[in-house]
Symmetry: C2
Subunit: 143 residues, 2 copies
Amino acid sequence: MAKAFTIGALSRESGVNLETIRFYERSGLLPEPLRSASGYRHYQAIDVRRLRFIRRGRELGFSLEEIKALLALAGEPHSPCAQADRLVHEHLQAIEARIQDLQRMKAELSKLAGCDSQQAEHCCLLEALDSRECCSAGDARPS
Amino acid sequence: MAKAFTIGALSRESGVNLETIRFYERSGLLPEPLRSASGYRHYQAIDVRRLRFIRRGRELGFSLEEIKALLALAGEPHSPCAQADRLVHEHLQAIEARIQDLQRMKAELSKLAGCDSQQAEHCCLLEALDSRECCSAGDARPS
DNA sequence: CTAAACCCTGTAGTCGCTACGGAGTCAAGC
DNA sequence: GCTTGACTCCGTAGCGACTACAGGGTTTAG
């Protein structure tokens, strides 16, 4: 009755790479599935759901450890979800910090871009890396 | 005359971890330095400068391979800096893409945050991971 | 002279996969 | 029954950018 999937079918169904599925099993994110006589893994619908959960978590930037924790929380129907909420908030903060980081990089890089000197020794871009000064700084050379 | 640095001094001077310096040497970013009779590395001021260049590149998010390329360009005084500029532009695009990515994550996570159900089975947060639906979706529960 | 601080090499761990090699298994067509 | 091709198995190694040992040798200050 219950439809069984081979690992290839599970991969197609869940959108998770086949080798990644085996990796998740080794990592303890997926339980060890039943096996056929010849040792082939056999999965059920619930595994598709679990894998999609994991995939979605990855798309949202959670680490595998965080996803493991979320899965454990989801499996405990009577535990409060405050912990899950805390995980989300921490993760949000990490993402915001990362965005700040990248925006700082972007701003600095934008200042460097557009140098078209014909000689590397006058390239404000390479100089900027050298000296932390940018084209627009006091002793800038014409570029 | 030329002040020589041990690896520890170079580390303090450049702000790059001592083990990382050795790693950069193995990776071909730093030339192999002179050695004392007992095998200790001896560095010069130019190495401090080179390491700072690398550090600055890392702060701007360049990969070690990209930094290697930039260093090569900086060492070629007569080559045009157009190549360096292209590297910077490509890197800028990658950063912008990454920011977009993170902002998408942030937006989705923000929708999930704030659930305070007392039971995981009603936690919109975990459900959202399960079903791709969020609290604010049609069948949202009071939270 | 001794102890602390430094340095050496080589190797293994992190994270989240991905890719291989070399084997065994299964289903379909002839 | 036999072949072919697609699938699966396992174990291991690679990526990038470090970081952290272990188990030694060296230098320096008191």
